[in-house]
């Protein structure tokens, strides 16, 4: 009954005034709604990236994960008899599955704090004249690439414990460290 009454009133308005108000139709709706997006540190973001172990080959710096090879504290390890290396050899493939202290497995870890299972892999935009860096799954030893990503990492599961493989073939020796941007990708496995 109430509904019918409302329709009648609207009908009267429509007849007398404009045709804007038909039965239950709307001509224009305009609604203000809020979008708020926070930028979180890697530890709290939807894709959690965390350092593992001591030695600062991996470290959270200013909220984001970064890598230094050799580590900033490499000169402290092995404890009591540090080796203090200058860098990687040329024309070589190195794998770093742990930080310099070897006190925890993995160099870094990936955890899914989003809402969908994701496949994880790394890419590198430019490898010209710089070492090639690829992440790998420390448990399986598998390189994680776009064509061969991790198994689906469930929401809240994990973490996926990772290391870095670094290929220095054709890369010249130099005093200055190479500055490389590695992209860690996490892509939902279903299209939904």
């Amino acid at each position: 009954m109430k509904k019918r009454r409302l329709l009648t009133i609207l009908g009267t308005l429509a007849g007398g005034g404009s045709l804007a108000l038909g039965t239950g139709a709307f001509t224009t709706v305009s609604a203000d709604r809020t979008v708020s997006i926070a930028v979180a540190d890697d530890a709290y973001a939807f894709l959690r990236l965390n350092e593992r172990g001591s030695g600062e080959r991996s470290e959270i710096d200013g909220g984001t994960l970064k890598f230094n090879i050799p580590g900033d504290d490499e000169d402290q390890y092995p404890s009591g008899n540090p080796t203090d290396p200058d860098g990687l050899g040329t024309d070589s493939v190195y794998r770093f599955g742990e930080d310099a202290a070897h006190d925890q497995s993995g160099l870094f870890a990936v955890r899914n704090q989003g809402t969908q299972p994701v496949e994880v892999y790394s890419t590198q935009d430019s490898t010209a004249g710089v070492p090639t860096v690829t992440m790998f799954d420390v448990d399986s030893g598998d390189l994680l690439t776009e064509n061969s990503p991790s198994a689906p990492l469930g929401v809240g599961a994990g973490p996926l414990v990772c290391g870095l493989e670094i290929d220095t073939h054709g890369v010249p020796i130099q005093d200055e460290a190479y500055d490389i941007e590695l992209t860690i990708n996490a892509v939902a496995t279903d299209g939904d």
């Binding site: 409302l6 609604a31 203000d32 979008v35 997006i37 709290y44 973001a45 984001t64 809402t115």
Partner: protein
């Protein structure tokens, strides 16, 4: 006698001007009831609601109003409280707009883009994702929704380093196409 004369006078005035009919008035004030039901966004004629999919978690209906909230006030079940810095994040199918009126409408979001010194966030219809995250950069078109039609919207955030938060108020407009 006097009275009859007056009536005649009135009659002639009415005949000339025509403005004052019998029972004319200068002002009337009458109260009538208009019953308008205001519904929550998900029940409204233009329905705005989180999707049923997993990424509906990033939208809320707090106080009956749709909000897109990627922050610590709406953490994911897994504990995520924001997008990563130095990262591009694409979240598909966060919320939906559905036309539950009786005419086709064109839906636009304004603004659909928030920029803060190069860090930005974009809210866009999933059917036009190529215009935002694809190779084309054609700009967004209004979404035409027939009666009962529904469009799901995506969110894209690109954060270089600077911003700690992004966003603002989006005006959702639906205009009847005829």
């Amino acid at each position: 006698m006097k009275r009859r004369q007056l009536l005649l006078g009135v009659a002639s005035v009415a005949g000339t001007g025509g403005l004052l009919g019998t029972g004319a008035f200068t002002a009337v004030s009458a109260d009538r009831t208009v019953s308008v039901q205001v519904a929550t966004d998900d029940q409204a004629l233009l329905a705005l609601e989180p999707t049923d999919g997993p990424n509906g978690e990033y939208a809320t209906l707090e106080g009956g109003q749709l909000a897109i909230d990627l922050s610590s006030s709406n953490p994911t079940d897994a504990g995520g409280t924001g997008v990563n810095a130095r990262a591009e994040t694409t979240i598909e199918d966060v919320f939906a707009v559905e036309n539950r009126g009786t005419q086709p409408v064109e839906v636009t979001l304004d603004p659909y883009f928030f920029d803060d010194g190069g860090d930005f966030v974009c809210v866009y219809p999933g059917s036009q994702s190529d215009a935002v995250v694809g190779n084309g950069s054609t700009g967004l078109e209004p979404v035409t929704l027939g009666v009962g039609d529904r469009e799901q919207y995506d969110v894209f955030a690109a954060v270089a380093l600077g911003a700690s938060s992004l966003g603002g108020t989006v005006t959702v407009t639906a205009d009847a196409t005829n």
